[in-house]
Structure formats: C-alpha cells, structure tokens
C-alpha cells in the first residue's frame, strides 16, 4: 500500500514504512523526477509552466507562489496516498525551512481524503521510541500489503 509520510522527507518514517512492507510516498521521489526526467525545460529543477497549474488545484492564484509550487510537488503524492503517517509539529517544519500554510493545507487534505491516518509525536527517549515504532508497526500491519492489493 502507498503510505504518505509527513514530514515528507523523513528518514525514520520512510525507512519504517519500507521495513514493514509498504511503499513510502516521500517528496524525494518527486524531486528526483524533476531533476532526472529527460529533456530539461528549465534547469535545475525542471519546473515547467504546467506545475503551477497543478498547484492551482489546491490554492487560489492570490496565494503565495511558494504554496502553489510546493503543492504541485505534493499533488501526485496526495493523489496516490492510500494511508498516511503524520508526525505532529516536527522541528523541521519550523522556520524558513518549512512553509506553515502548505503544511496546514497538506494535513487538512489528508484528513479530508478519509484514508487511514496515524498521528504521532517524535520520540524524545527510548520509551517513547518503543511506543512510536510499535504504533507504526501495528498501523502498517492493519493495512493491506502492496502485493495483496494487486
């Protein structure tokens, strides 16, 4: 099953989802497509005029272009998501590295999609980490494995 992860570039979540036999939907895949696809239109990231149009699906034209640009990358991930694991208030989403409005919108869209959703906090000690990993493993076990679905 395709599992959306948030923070979308998380090593821990990406690894755990793959470890428990599912496919993580992470932003790295989308960035990779923009970098590696053949015939670069506008290097280095190959963002074409088509991309802001994808973002317009989620945010109006007067919304900051950063939100629409980010949403154009999130669009294929959100469309394909069959389940989601969300870490509440990750440190990385604070400050200039994150975009608070995009993050809020992504979390809202995940809830509106009515897919199985697991919400957690990042662990700060070993006991919390045990609970964190246990909850993720139980959640992923409750989902259909990727092979069965086909």
């Amino acid at each position: 099953m395709k599992v959306f992860i948030y923070p979308t570039n998380s090593l821990i979540l990406s690894d755990l989802v793959e470890r428990f036999g599912h496919e993580p939907l992470a932003i790295m895949q989308e960035v990779g497509k923009k970098v590696k696809s053949q015939g670069l239109d506008s290097p280095p990231l190959n963002i074409t005029p088509e991309d802001p149009k994808l973002g317009l699906k989620y945010a109006a034209v007067e919304v900051p272009s950063g939100v629409r640009g980010r949403m154009s990358l999130f669009d294929p991930l959100l469309r394909n998501a069959e389940a989601a694991i969300v870490v509440r208030d990750p440190v990385i989403s604070f400050g200039c590295m994150g975009c608070a409005r995009t993050n809020e919108l992504v979390n809202f869209l995940l809830r509106a999609k009515k897919i199985p959703l697991l919400e957690l906090d990042y662990p700060s000690n070993e006991e919390e980490a045990k609970e964190f990993v246990y909850k993720i493993s139980e959640f992923l076990k409750s989902l259909k494995p990727a092979e069965e679905k086909k």
Binding site: N9, S10, G32, K34, M97, P123, E127, A129, Y134
Partner: protein, 142 residues
C-alpha cells in the same frame, strides 16, 4: 531505465561506512557508490539498488536506515563543493533525525523480541472548575 539514488544512514557500533562500501564493491553491481560521513549513497537502477540494499541491511538490521534521495551524489546544485561549503539543503532534517536513530534501533530490537510497550496515558488538562476552586482556596480573606 528508472535510476534512483538511495541514502544509507549508518548508526551502528559495529559497522562503519567503509565496511558497507567494501561490501557494495564486492557485489560487483552496476551502481555508483559514494561514501559520506553519515553512511553511503548508492545510485543505479531501482531494482538493482533495492535488492542490493536489502542484502546490505542484513549486515546490521537495527543500525542501517535507508531513504531515497532526489538528487544524485555530487549534483552541483546540492553539493557543498560547488556551493562554497555549509550544510546542504536537507541536512538539517537528517541531523535532527540522526539523534533519534539509537532510540529507534532499540525500539526495533524490542519489537522483534515481542515486547509490547505500555501506551502512556495522556495527561488531561486542568479542569476549569478545579482551577477556580484552587484560586478561591488561595485567596486571602480581608
């Protein structure tokens, strides 16, 4: 050909990135390997990289963590060598999660042993009536 790059982050007391690199070279697979401070980056065809890393993971299942990377190693838009130093974008999240990896490793070990952690009860917020009573109780009678 679907080419991908995967980052192997090593957080192990018995394994070094150089050990993993040697093992990767031994496999003789058609991949590009780069040793880094946190582990190894492997670029190649998706099938080849996935099967190769599943064997590499067996070297220390609790000490090796893998994620995909959008950019290839040495990409001029990301590489520090061409950006006059400093942390590359994406490093800060890796650094913040790297601190948690020993905890995650021991949690995975406990999960494989069949340990079920006690789910902590969330602390309830203070009831407003209780707070009012506390305030009343501490008020000085004039």
């Amino acid at each position: 050909m679907d080419s991908i790059t995967k980052m192997v982050v090593i957080n192990s007391s018995k394994l070094l990135p150089s050990d993993v690199v040697i093992k990767l070279y031994e496999s003789n697979a058609d991949v590009l390997i780069k040793e880094t401070c946190f582990g190894v980056m492997v670029t190649g065809e998706r099938k080849v990289v996935d099967s190769l890393l599943s064997t590499i993971r067996k070297m220390d299942p609790y000490g090796i963590f893998v994620k995909e990377r959008g950019f290839a190693p040495g990409e001029p838009y990301r590489c520090r060598a061409t950006r006059r130093g400093g942390a590359r974008p994406g490093f800060h999240n890796l650094e913040s999660e790297d601190k948690l990896l020993p905890h995650i490793a021991s949690a995975l070990r406990a999960l494989d042993k069949g340990e079920i952690p006690q789910i902590k009860q969330k602390k309830k917020k203070l009831d407003i009536e209780k707070l009012k009573n506390i305030i009343k109780g501490t008020e000085v009678q004039q």
